[in-house]
């Protein structure tokens, strides 16, 4: 057999493509792992339940993501090899697979990312609320976690072509509900903080000044974003900053 005919043989080319794919896949996996480690991903995901589950089965988030990219390239290599070797002669099947594989890859990646972000945000919110020792408050971190997970699932499902319209409507209703409840609940806070920004920037009165807001007179002890604390001889008034704008301030000079 001639050298030239050997190269033209589809099976040989397929084998070469397969070998190349294996090598590239492995290298990309290693590169990914190094890059993720160097960019501080292990520290960022530390302590999240996803990472802990990964640890318990003897792997880690970084390794899973790196393996995933490797397997993605292996998959492409195998499919390309099959196509070249013409083991399966179905163009329609081939077309669908080439479209589908990257989408599955991205969907899985989005899911992993969603799980990690959800866990991380649960941890962060939980940490932030740790000072408040009320049982009702502990539901908030969970709520944040499942909201993030829900969005991740919708993206992943949308990616692989499942109809997600109903889920999207649910999400929109949920988001709208949060916004409505938020504006109603925090309206006073928003107004006060807007006034507070003005007070902090322009300082029409400062600590130590004697002022009157409404009918509360005293020495200013503290001005922050939401409230002004003014103190009389024995009474300390904590006045929301919006009152300053509603009623005006009187500076008392003597």
């Amino acid at each position: 057999m001639d050298w030239q005919t050997l190269i033209d043989e589809p099976a040989v080319i397929a084998a070469a493509v397969l070998a190349l794919g294996l090598v590239v896949g492995y290298l990309v996996g290693r590169l990914n792992e190094e890059l993720l480690s160097a960019s501080g991903v292990p520290e960022a995901v530390e302590g999240t339940p996803f990472e802990r589950t990964a640890q318990s089965i003897g792997t880690s988030t970084v390794k899973i993501v790196a393996r995933l990219s490797s397997w993605f390239i292996y998959g492409i290599a195998v499919l390309t090899a099959i196509h070249i070797a013409q083991l399966l002669d179905t163009d329609a099947f081939w077309l669908r697979v080439t479209e589908f594989v990257p989408q599955v890859f991205i969907a899985v990646l989005v899911l992993i990312l969603g799980f990690i972000i959800a866990d991380k945000s649960e941890l962060v919110v939980g940490e932030y609320l740790r000072g408040v020792k009320l049982p009702e408050v502990s539901i908030l971190p969970k709520l944040v976690k499942y909201s993030v997970l829900y969005v991740a699932f919708i993206i992943a499902l949308g990616q692989i072509g499942v109809h997600v319209l109903a889920l999207l409507i649910l999400l929109a209703v949920y988001a709208l509900g949060i916004i409505v409840v938020g504006t109603v609940a925090f309206k006073e806070f928003l107004v006060s903080s807007a006034a507070g920004v003005y007070l902090l920037l322009n300082q029409p009165y400062g600590i130590g000044d004697r002022i009157r807001i409404d009918d509360q007179t005293g020495i200013v002890q503290e001005v922050d974003l939401f409230v002004t604390k003014i103190e009389d001889d024995s009474e300390e008034y904590i006045v929301p900053n919006r009152k300053v704008f509603e009623n005006g301030i009187v500076r008392i000079r003597d």
């Binding site: 902090l200 600590i207 130590g208 000044d209 005293g218 020495i219 002890q221 503290e222 103190e231």
Partner: protein, 270 residues
Amino acid sequence: MAGLDDVFGDLVRSVDAVVLFSPSGSYYERCADLEDLDLIVIGTENAVGAETFVELPLAFDDIRERIRFGLEGALEQDLIEDGDELACATSVFSDGIDTVSRVRADVETRTGIYDLFVKSRAEPEVIKAVLELAVELGKKGQKGKPVGALFVVGDAGKVMNKSRPLSYNPFEKSHVHVGDPIVNVMLKEFSRLDGAFIISDAGKIVSAYRYLEPSAEGVDIPKGLGARHMAGGAITRDTNAITIVLSESDGLVRAFKAGELILEVDPEAY
């Protein structure tokens, strides 16, 4: 080595509680697993998430200060009672716990250090930050020369009305809080400013260059301290503020509350 256990076992025999100073996580868990043991953790932060915890404002280097302050805090929080026998485990030479000392809780030796931090008007973190600032300033000085400083913390509105400006206030319309990273950068400049720094309950630096005008009647501070300490001590009688003073002559940091000297630390020891 059973003999040694007998001899040193006396140290921890029938104690009412075990006090761990800044234990590591695994050390704490080993102690927490023991039954019938009251465990108190004392440290600058509650790193092990212990239920009964007393916070130290400084990582006291002197072990006697450390234990005394910690136990005073525990007494104040009713974690221990007067006369309780305690095994205090702390570190002296290494980072880990290497020393156990048997201490008897004593209400009589109470100095009010714990009150200074926890029961003052200003927030404990603010007082802690100002104290660290004064210690840092005492350590560094200005070009190697000792400097003095006077910080009045809390009840800022009243203090402002009991003082007058010596010059323009460099902190006018600024929003600098003690504990901000910028404060450490400005540290060197601080020592050039004369007069007192006034800091609000929440830690905002309200003013520098303030001349304090309290009435010094009946202020009882040790003789030999200068005008700075006298002014600092007196203002705490007139207002609900506390003052932290860095002495130029002997380099010590002192804290006053209600006209009394509460705390005296040497910056060089930290």
